[in-house]
């Protein structure tokens, strides 16, 4: 734990998470590899059932039964492979090393306790000796986010607006000095202007404190605003990842293309917007062989029915699609053979 005070890098390798159902164990995340560079903000975009929240929970090794991590690793600098952590050491790692802002953090505060009391509970459960220091740190963080720290700590949940609660959530994730932060849907149910403020705060706090940040969202706009790198999830896989601007500007995977086309725009011709046919798969309807996206794909080929496309590097990105880069000689030969 030598470098716990600097932004850690995270390497997720071939991670598979399965859920036990009546139809057997079904993968919610299958064979996902993703690297979070130290000090970067990575955005994971996906629709419901894409496995994005499960992936985020895996970072904490917090997948709840009936789900379990069935394979792969999550290496975090200074912590090692989180998948192997159990019991007390795992609990310590959460909060100390990894800060997590839960989905709907606006509603995840205890309505019966003031924010300050909850902060102290958090400190005690992590064995913090200097509780005064903790409160001071919390006030500073809240102040940094434009709130009156003393007042907020004295408030109950119902006395705070949605945007204020979200900031409290971020404060609680950071106050133990975690340098890896996971934000699950940080702006859902917030108003436009509040959303913009929160996104700005995420970006600023990220830079000032030297964090590695992972943002999980269904909203491409959110990722576009804050993330350096973008990973697109579909049916439990990362189908495309790369620098945000590059992926948005020139998407490679047919799903990414379709998703971007399906967003109505403020300027330009309305006819450019195109709906994606079909609907996203659920745990039970994800195809077990072949490409998970083929049912909705405009570039479907025969090989898509039989072979799951591997995630291959194409320049600055990694794409899992048979139709991308087929002109490369090596793969052409493979197809001929």
């Amino acid at each position: 734990m030598t470098n716990a005070s600097t932004a850690p890098g995270v390497r997720i390798g071939d991670l598979t998470v399965v859920y036990k159902t009546q139809a057997g164990e079904l993968p919610a995340v299958s064979g996902v590899s993703l690297e979070l560079a130290p000090g970067s903000i990575t955005g994971v975009v996906g629709e419901s059932g894409s496995g994005k929240s499960t992936l985020a929970l895996s970072l904490l090794n917090a997948v709840q039964s009936p789900g379990r991590i069935s394979g792969g690793s999550v290496e975090i600098d200074g912590l090692g492979d989180v998948v192997g952590l159990r019991g007390e050491s795992l609990r310590k790692a959460r909060g100390r090393h990894i800060g997590y802002v839960f989905q709907a953090a606006q509603n995840s505060l205890n309505p019966l306790k003031t924010v300050g009391k909850q902060l102290l509970d958090l400190g005690r459960s992590h064995g913090v000796d200097d509780l005064r220091g903790l409160v001071r740190e919390a006030k500073e963080l809240l102040g940094r986010m434009g709130l009156d720290g003393a007042r907020v700590l004295d408030s109950h949940q119902h006395e705070l607006s949605g945007g204020m609660r979200q900031r409290v959530g971020i404060m609680l994730a950071l106050v133990l000095n975690a340098h890896l932060v996971v934000l699950d849907e940080p702006t859902t149910a917030l108003d436009m202007i509040t959303q913009a403020t929160i996104l700005r705060i995420i970006r600023e706090v990220h830079e000032e404190r030297g964090l590695t940040t992972l943002v999980i969202t269904h909203d491409i706009g959110v990722v576009a605003e804050v993330a350096d790198r973008l990973a697109v999830m579909y049916g439990g896989r990362i189908v495309e990842q790369g620098p945000t601007g590059a992926v948005l500007g020139a998407p490679s995977h047919p799903y990414t293309k379709g998703l971007i086309k399906a967003i109505p725009r403020l300027v330009g011709s309305l006819d450019e917007a195109r709906a994606l046919p079909g609907r996203p798969p659920t745990l039970a309807t994800v195809p077990t062989t072949g490409c998970v996206f083929r049912e909705r794909c405009a570039e479907r080929m025969d090989v898509c029915d039989s072979d799951d496309p591997p995630a291959l590097a194409h320049g600055d990105r990694i794409v899992a699609c048979h139709a991308v880069g087929t002109s490369e000689p090596a793969q052409l030969q493979e197809e001929v053979a």
């Binding site: 959303q195 913009a196 269904h218 576009a224 605003e225 971007i260 109505p264 403020l266």
Partner: protein, 335 residues
């Protein structure tokens, strides 16, 4: 045509006996929605846009003001006689999960309003079945595979289509879509929006779209009118594209500036406006309601009340003493 004049609504919040707060949800709103036309109410949560939508759909009463449907003033009718008018204005809920009764099949859900119509007009069972198939095909669903199902067996997008189909059973004149796609998966949203647009074009149903997302409002009807609502008051009103390309009210500008920029595809607008944070301002009713958050406020804004109207060579109506067109919206990159 549906119009409203000076609609007001005040909610009394029950605190204790001594401290009963009043929340002015609507402070005199005028609107006109032409037959087959489109209109959008834009604003943040709590601005009154949803309340106004519910009043228009007849699900809520208003305090003062007048709603006129096809030339008939609603205040001239007894409550019982208003119902046939309001029935022609159907609300599409935000949440397709609670909008359908989980214990009833789609067939039962569609049949209830159809049976009522059949009884009133003396039509047969066969007509009901035909009509059920018809409305389902209008919303792009296959009757054979949907009718016998329960809501939980359908995806969010399909449920929202069923909700729209149910609204169509009464031949509505207008659909009021309250954040109708915000709970639907991103890749399916455009399908629902396209459906509403299509219903406008094919059936001549007018659509009132209530949302915080200006881009979706534009998609439904770029020929329609945009009403920007702030704290129960329309602060800017005009054709959608006019307002997007040159908003004049600082609140509209703040809203449009807050829309995320798709870097790589777009470049941010040249003159973004960032308001100061929303404070607890419900008690401050003097002057311009937005003044306390407005970066351009002057002394006049804090004492005098701006009225919605035209002026100073600006094409859209606005309620601001210092209107100025600003380029706040992101533009396509590269071109």
């Amino acid at each position: 045509m549906i119009t409203g004049q000076a609609i007001t609504k005040t909610f009394k919040q029950r605190g204790n006996v001594l401290d009963s707060r009043e929340v002015r949800a609507l402070r005199g709103v005028d609107f006109v929605i032409p037959k087959g036309g489109a209109a959008s109410f834009i604003g943040e949560s709590g601005c009154g846009k949803t309340t106004l939508g519910r009043i228009i759909a007849g699900l809520e009463s208003h305090d003062t003001g007048e709603i006129t449907i096809d030339g008939t003033a609603m205040s001239s009718l007894r409550p019982r006689d208003r119902q046939p008018y309001f029935r022609r204005i159907q609300l599409i809920h935000q949440d397709p999960y609670s909008a359908l009764n989980p214990t009833r099949t789609i067939h039962q859900t569609l049949n209830a309003p159809l049976a009522l119509r059949a009884k009133q007009t003396g039509r047969s069972r066969g007509w009901m079945d035909e009509r059920a198939q018809e409305v389902l095909s209008l919303v792009g669903l296959d009757a054979g595979s949907v009718l016998g199902r329960y809501p939980h067996q359908l995806s969010g997008g399909m449920r929202q289509r069923v909700v729209i189909a149910r609204a169509l059973t009464v031949d509505p004149e207008m659909l009021v879509a309250d954040e109708a796609v915000s709970m639907i998966d991103v890749s399916l949203r455009l399908g629902i929006l396209a459906l509403l647009k299509d219903l406008r074009e094919r059936l001549g149903v007018s659509v009132l779209f209530i949302t915080h997302d200006v881009a979706t409002a534009r998609y439904i009807g770029d020929d329609g009118e945009l009403y920007v609502i702030y704290r129960g008051q329309v602060v800017e009103r005009g054709p959608v594209d006019t307002i997007i390309s040159g908003p004049v009210h600082p609140y509209t500008q703040s809203l449009l500036s807050a829309i995320p920029v798709l870097h790589g595809l777009e470049e941010p607008g040249a003159q973004p406006v960032v308001p100061t944070e929303a404070l607890d301002e419900s008690h401050h009713d003097e002057g311009c309601l937005f003044a306390r958050r407005c970066p351009f406020r002057t002394g006049k804004c804090e004492s005098e009340v701006p009225v919605l109207g035209l002026g100073e060579g600006i094409p859209q109506e606005h309620a601001c003493f210092h209107p100025e067109r600003r380029a706040v919206v992101a533009q396509p990159a590269g071109r």
